[in-house]
Amino acid sequence: MQILVVDDDTWMRQALVAMLSSWDYEPLEAADGEEAWTLLQQHPVSLVLCDWMMPKLDGVELCRRLRAADWPHYIYVILLTGKDQTADLIAAFEAGADDFHTKPVKAGELRVRIRAARRVLELEQALVARNQDLQGMNQALAASQARVQRDLEAAAEVQRDLLPRSAAVGLPVRLAWSLLPADELAGDSFNVFAFDARYLGFYVIDVSGHGVPAAMLSVHLARTLAPEPRPDSLVRRPETPAQKPTGRLRFGRGSPSSRAAPYRPPVEVLTRLNQSLLNDERGSLYFTMIYGILDTSSGQGELCQAGHPYPLISRANGQIDRLGEGGFPVGLLPDAEYESIDFYLAAGDRLLLYSDGATECFDATQQAFGEERLCAALTAGRDQPLEPMLQAIEQALRDWHRQAAPATTQAPGFDDDVSLLAIERE
């Protein structure tokens, strides 16, 4: 350990240097504060033994200058002086001295004081090393977090790509939707698609839980429920007859005319999904869902409700109809039987599908937004075009939830994913 001895008294300085050498330290010597300052710039000194009274720069001033500078390691200072008044001692410590030793120097006492200094310096070095380790770990953690965040953002982008791309599905319907995820990734998803020039398919899904597992299942379901003609398609009949069905369309499993339709009935789709998910032993997720078909030419529709909130129809005359009586979620119970719900959309009628994140959106008093307020918002937006109406519902939910957030929060996140899908028949 290098120790700098600073004293204008040559005899004293040399005596100290000899003492330190005999104790196996590496002494350096300076005749005043200025010379000491120069040496401190050039050598990795850990301890300074410094006289108080010196020409040019005295011991206390050297301490002040030393503490004001930025050193890569701590420099311990022991002031040597004949002063022993309390006020002097306070002045020395305030200037940045670590210890105080009154002259004449007693070898034994100085030796133990230097040992004590060494222990402090070793602790300080250990602390510096640990801090460096922690900084390294923090940097690694930050890099890892940034990588996870990038992955999540990329996954969220994939999820967004699975949402309907355009409201123009080539059928006489207007569409509007909104997805407000609680986290980066959503467990909610939905889609609207044309089977052909007449039939519209639609679904909304809410996978239990949040985060990556829920999002992965929702992505898997989006692929499973894709309407593209494939032999293994779950939603499209394997062989679509070339001829159009004749007469009034009747929905329901096994009805004669539905055999000619290009789609599988919703009850069949949900029954298959339920079996498939229960057979999959990889996870314990389940989901609620509404899957439906609309014959856009007649306005007749058929849907299946699997534990998802009750669909609402806003009639052109202002009336609100609630569809369904509940149904088993998908992937929760073996042998769950699903029921078909028929509905009719006249021109101008609007069907609203939503996740429970909307009705169970809580305000500051833990009061839920609820179905009644949702119906009221639907009625209030009746005279607006579909998209502004949906935006108004979304805003009402945000306003409701904002009351639950601290006043400083600019954009409070929802506790659960909120998805809204509205279909209006032209």
Partner: protein
Amino acid sequence: MDDLQLQDYPQARVIRLNLGRLTASSAAKVLTRVLTAGAGAPALIIDLSAVEFMDSTAIGELVVLTRRLREAKRPYCLAELRPPLMSLARLMRLERALAFCDSVQSALTRFEQPPTQG
């Protein structure tokens, strides 16, 4: 207060969940403890009167618990669900698949053994 409170009757053990919210973070652990706490009882009455909110994961875990009880042929009843939770159970048709009771008392009555003859 412990989040599970047990009370034994001749015909059943009542396990009361002293939790206002049962969510993804707690449901699996709590309901596994319910299963363990019910070991050896002739029947299990799970008193849910204190539970104000259950998220979808907790509902799923509750269904898994009842499935395990059924598989083990252990009679059970979910008692005193608050109205919002009962509405959710109806939405999911769970009232058709799981055993519910309006009150702990009615569940105890349900599990009462008929007096043995002779």
